[in-house]
Structure formats: structure tokens, C-alpha cells
């Protein structure tokens, strides 16, 4: 039966050719390591989010009067609803963590350098989209935690004179976070962002395959030869076949990702769902201590520390601009960060500041 199905597909799509060119004969550099599998981990994480999200969508009611109850019903009445919600909640945080780690390793290995500028930009936009995914999904349970964290996060644009208030009003659909905000964030979370994210991810993978996977610079010479005047696909005739060698490494990391996810669900089930996540949203009752999600804490703390609000938000936009356009700003040939002490110093300083601000903002 399997043989007949394979033959049927072979005639119609050239399955053998596809497997040969894309898996067994597609070679990756010998120097590639586990850090290069993080992109695949993000892809797997996204699939987990989509599947668990679809299950939640069956029972979730996007209305201020029913949203909280429907989520609690998923947690207590729907068979294994708790499992899908925990996977979705913990998975969303792990996905963002994996994306940040992926960007960091790409930066450390200098794999953003030309001709991979577009690969970097698409990856950076994917990270920003993942943050918007997180923000929009955070409001949906309509709990005290989600309501007030969203109030804080959507107030960031008010730092802008002239059009800041307008941006916040557009995000919220009014002066305050309300049922209209819930509707907007729900549409954003389940209908607008997923196809954009998926398309960008496909484009990102296409670029990785089209240009050729980048070799790690540790211990090898800079692979790019100047000038780059025409398209050259980077191939590794002496490299290892993608399947099974690299694919196994990717699968190993996905298993580790799932192990970490279930470790958190088992031993720290309230890490992302504290008591305020089990209290219905009350617009008239401001909690004493509120803050946004961990991945917005550094930005939040930065805004609180800088006395000039507009300067604070401007600095953040400049940092995002720097992050997106970094491949065009760093035009040195050398990929190995160990041979670039100044850049290494700045990177470590920024990383330390980010971590300190994040913990300070809690």
C-alpha cells in the first residue's frame, strides 16, 4: 500500500527527486553545530502554537462577558483543556525565548553579513511579530493580569507627542482597554498575524536555502569573498548531507524544547499564570503591582527610568531601527566576534543592560 502510494506520488510530484535534492543530497557545512538548529526549533514551536491554539479556539469566546469564563472552562471542564492551554501559554514564552536565542547566535556567528541581509531582516521582523503575537494573545483570557498588562503595554505610544494618543486609541479602540480592544486583539492574534508570520517564515527559509546555510566562523576563515557582484549559491560539496545528520540534530533540539516545556508545566505551572491570571478583569480595580510580560519588561523599565518620555520611546525606536538595519551598518568582513573586541564589548554591555532592566522592571 505504502509502495503504491509512493509510486503514485512519484509520478505526479517527483518525490524521489524532491527527497534527493532537498534532503539527502543537500549538504550542510561540517562545522555547523547545535546552535544552528534553533531556527528549526522556532518552526516546530510555531507549529505547536498553531495546533494548541486551534484547540483553544474551539472553546474560547471572544467577548468581555464570556472570555474569562470560557478560559476557566477550558482549564477545568474541557477534557485535557488545561494541557492545551498550558502548552500554548508556556510554548508562547519559550518560542520568544528561542527566537531571541536564535537571533543572538546568528549575531555572534556574524551570519547576518552580506549576502544574508534580507535573511536577518526577515528574522528580526519575525521576532517583532512574535512579540505582537504575545501582546495580542495576552489580553484574550480577560483576567486582571491580562487586562492591566495590556493597559500598560498599549500606553507606550502615548509617549509620542501629536500622534501618540491616536495610536493608543487605534490599538484600544477607545480611551481604555475594552471589549473593542478584545475584538481587535483577537482578530490580530488568530486571523491577521498567523498568515503574515507564516509567509515571512517561508520567505526566511527560502532565503536560507537559496543563499545557502552559513558556516560557523569559529576557527574558519571568512567565507564571503569580495566583491559580491553576482548571485552565488553557497554549497558545501565536502559537507554532510542534511538528512540524516543535521535533521537528527534538529530533532534532538525539538525534543529538548518539549522537555523544557513539560518541565515548566509540571513543576512551575503558575510561572506564567499567577494568581492575577485567575481573577476576572476589573477595569475599576487597579492591582497594586502590575507589569507587562517578561519580554517587554526591559522596555517598560527603560521608559520609567528616562525622565523624558519622548526621548525614552525615541531611543527604543532607534534601537529597533539599529536591530533591523544592523547588516547594513556592520560592513566589516570579519565574522568572528572573538577577533572584534569593540563589537564584542558593546554587545555584552547591551545584553547586560537588557537583563538588568528586565529584572529591575519586575
Amino acid at each position: 500500500m505504502a509502495r503504491r502510494l509512493k509510486d503514485w506520488l512519484e509520478v505526479r510530484i517527483g518525490l524521489d527527486d524532491l527527497i534527493r535534492t532537498q534532503l539527502t543530497e543537500y549538504r550542510v557545512p561540517n562545522t555547523i553545530n547545535l546552535l544552528s538548529t534553533l531556527g528549526f526549533v522556532v518552526l516546530a514551536g510555531y507549529i505547536i502554537q498553531v495546533v494548541s491554539g486551534i484547540f483553544l479556539l474551539i472553546y474560547y469566546v471572544p467577548h468581555p462577558e464570556h472570555a474569562f469564563r470560557s478560559v476557566q472552562s477550558i482549564m477545568s471542564s474541557v477534557p485535557y483543556g488545561w494541557l492545551f492551554r498550558q502548552i500554548h501559554v508556556v510554548g508562547s514564552n519559550l518560542l520568544i525565548a528561542a527566537l531571541i536565542l536564535h537571533m543572538l547566535t546568528v549575531f555572534l556567528m556574524g551570519n547576518y553579513k552580506r549576502p544574508r541581509e534580507m535573511t536577518w531582516i526577515s528574522g528580526a521582523v519575525l521576532l517583532l511579530l512574535a512579540l505582537v503575537f504575545g501582546l495580542s494573545g495576552y489580553l484574550l483570557p480577560w483576567s486582571q493580569l491580562s487586562y492591566w498588562a495590556t493597559t500598560v503595554a498599549t500606553s507606550f505610544p502615548t509617549a509620542f507627542p501629536f500622534f501618540g494618543d491616536f495610536v493608543t486609541k487605534v490599538l484600544r479602540g477607545g480611551e481604555n482597554v475594552s471589549g473593542i480592544t478584545l475584538g481587535r486583539f483577537f482578530a490580530l492574534h488568530i486571523a491577521i498575524l498567523p498568515p503574515i508570520f507564516l509567509s515571512l517564515m517561508v520567505f526566511h527559509i527560502f532565503l536560507v536555502r537559496r543563499i545557502g546555510i552559513s558556516a560557523t566562523p569559529f576557527g574558519v576563515e571568512d567565507e564571503e569573498k569580495r566583491p559580491l557582484a553576482q548571485y552565488i549559491k553557497k554549497t558545501y560539496p565536502d559537507g554532510n548531507p542534511f538528512y540524516p545528520y543535521f535533521f537528527q540534530k534538529e530533532m534532538l533540539m525539538v525534543m529538548v524544547y518539549c522537555t523544557v516545556m513539560f518541565f515548566i508545566i509540571t513543576f512551575m505551572p503558575t510561572l506564567f499564570l499567577p494568581e492575577a491570571a485567575n481573577t476576572p478583569a476589573d477595569p475599576f480595580k487597579t492591582p497594586a503591582h502590575i507589569g507587562p510580560e517578561w519580554y517587554f519588561l526591559a522596555q517598560y523599565q527603560m521608559l520609567r527610568l528616562i525622565p523624558n518620555k519622548f526621548l525614552g520611546i525615541s531611543l527604543q525606536i532607534i534601537l529597533v531601527g539599529l536591530f533591523l538595519s544592523w547588516p547594513f551598518l556592520d560592513t566589516y568582513k570579519e565574522k568572528n566576534l572573538r577577533k572584534r573586541p569593540v563589537l564584542r564589548g558593546i554587545f555584552l554591555l547591551l545584553l547586560a543592560i537588557w537583563v538588568v532592566l528586565m529584572f529591575w522592571g519586575r
Partner: protein
């Protein structure tokens, strides 16, 4: 490209420094916003009663209220005393329902606006009848206090308090009759606390417990020991149902933990197997 970026950065940053405000403005607009932990709407009752112009006796009222059970449950001055807390000009206007301080005899009706069931039973009790007959019987404040009112518990019945008016013997029998049911209520409350810490939504269960408790305490205000003893079995049955639900939830939580542990071990095992199967071209 780099020069263009630096130029854009300058264009962006310079006007921001020029047009922005300073720390005070920032704190007013951002840090003191209600969502940043600041106070929301002002309450003129609190403002005046905290100001220096207030008599010392009235000055302590706000601090006492802040330690109370009412404060913890968002019951503010105007909820009991009436008036308009948003406008100082009409805050104490009778047209706005301002009642002021009730006279000793009026206290039960004053508290009974909210505690309706308790008022009825109190008025039928020896305490209520004594107040009505002589104007000297105990009212709500005698046992519960006024602005620093705490969450009611069985320890309110004690020799020091009760023997101010009569011998403690009768009150002691009442306390014994209440003890087991009150103990069970306390245990269930702490169980709900533990469930909350484990991320369980307990509002519905807590509401049932609260209404059972309120009903029981309403009954106590009759100060009728035989009636309390007679009805205790009903309350014990109701509390047992709540206890069963709590126990079922703990069982469910244990199952969840075991299930996710199994999943974690499954993936950890698959990680180890994949690691062992990792191939290199030399294999």
C-alpha cells in the same frame, strides 16, 4: 547607508530632547497613572479626614479604616455614611444621601443596610431586644468595632468582651456550639487558598462557602444556642459538599502533575535516544 542612518537618528533624537518634559511631568503622566500603581479618582472624604484642619478624633478614622476588612473589600466611606466623595462642596449634603455618624440606637439599621439577614436575627435576639427596650443593649459596634472592623471570627466571643455586660457562661456554650462548624469553614478557606496558589480559579466555590458562612453567622446573631445546635447539621452537610469539590480538585491537580511528568519524561527519553542515534559521517 550608515551615514543615512546616523542622520535619521539625529533628526529623530534632537526634537525629542527639545520638545519633551522633565521628570515631574513624566511622573505625573506616566508613573502616577492608575495602571502604574497610583491612586485613581480622588476621594474627598479621605482628603479632608487626612488633612491638618480635621479634629484629632476624626483624623484617626482613615488610618483605622485602612486596616479594616471593609477597606480590603473596597467598602469606602460613602458606602456606609452616604454623601458624594467626588465633590467636596456637596460631599456632606443630605441631598446626596449623607447620613453622618449614626446615633447609638441607629447603629443596627446603619449596618443592616448591607447586612440585612444579620439585622433581622439581631433584632429578634436578646441583644437586639435589650437595645430596643433600654437603649443600652449591645449594638454591632460593641462586638465588632467601628472603622477598624475586622473579618468576623469565633474569637470575637471571649470572656473579656462578653463579661462586660453579662456572665460568660452562656456565651461559652454558644462558642462551643459554633466551634466545629467555624473550624471547618476555616479549613475550607485555607484549602481554597492553596488551590489559588496552584493556579485554580476558585471564585465559584468560595462564593458558595461565603454564602454558607454568612447564613451560619446570621443564625448566630439570634444568640439562640438550641437553634444553632439544631441547624448545625444542615451547615455541616453543605460544607461537606464544598469539601468534596475541593478534594476532587486536588485529585485532578495530582493527575495533571503526573500526566505532565510522564510527558516530560517521554520527551527527555526521546532526547536521549535521538542523542544516542546521532550519526556522524564517520559512523
Amino acid at each position: 547607508m550608515r551615514h543615512l542612518f546616523i542622520l535619521l537618528m539625529m533628526l529623530f533624537t534632537l526634537p525629542s530632547i527639545a520638545s519633551g518634559g522633565w521628570r515631574e511631568e513624566m511622573e505625573k503622566a506616566f508613573m502616577s497613572a492608575p495602571w502604574a500603581g497610583g491612586q485613581g479618582e480622588s476621594d474627598v472624604c479621605i482628603e479632608c479626614h487626612s488633612s491638618e484642619m480635621m479634629k484629632p478624633a476624626f483624623l484617626a478614622v482613615v488610618d483605622e479604616w485602612k486596616t479594616s476588612w471593609h477597606f480590603q473589600n473596597n467598602i469606602s466611606c460613602h458606602d456606609c455614611h452616604g454623601g458624594d466623595p467626588k465633590d467636596s462642596a456637596i460631599a456632606m449634603s443630605p441631598q446626596r444621601g449623607f447620613l453622618g455618624t449614626p446615633k447609638y440606637l441607629q447603629v443596627p439599621e446603619f449596618c443592616g443596610k448591607c447586612h440585612i439577614g444579620i439585622l433581622k436575627n439581631y433584632l429578634e435576639s436578646g441583644h437586639g431586644k435589650a437595645l430596643k427596650a433600654s437603649g443600652k443593649g449591645p449594638n454591632c459596634v460593641t462586638c465588632h468595632g467601628a472603622h477598624n472592623i475586622q473579618k468576623a471570627n469565633i474569637d470575637i466571643i471571649n470572656e473579656q468582651r462578653c463579661s462586660k455586660c453579662h456572665s460568660y457562661e452562656r456565651a461559652k456554650i454558644m462558642k462551643q456550639a459554633l466551634f466545629l462548624t467555624e473550624k471547618k469553614i476555616g479549613e475550607l478557606e485555607s484549602s481554597f487558598g492553596r488551590l489559588k496558589k496552584q493556579g485554580v480559579f476558585t471564585e465559584e466555590g468560595e462564593r458558595t462557602l461565603f454564602s454558607t458562612q454568612a447564613e451560619f453567622r446570621t443564625l448566630f446573631h439570634t444568640v439562640d444556642v438550641s437553634l444553632v445546635k439544631e441547624r448545625s447539621d444542615d451547615f455541616t452537610r453543605k460544607l461537606s459538599l464544598i469539601e468534596k469539590e475541593i478534594q476532587d480538585t486536588f485529585v485532578e491537580l495530582r493527575f495533571r502533575k503526573n500526566f505532565s511528568t510522564f510527558m516530560m519524561l517521554l520527551f527527555a527519553g526521546m532526547s536521549v535516544v535521538t542523542l544516542l542515534l546521532l550519526k556522524t559521517p564517520r559512523d
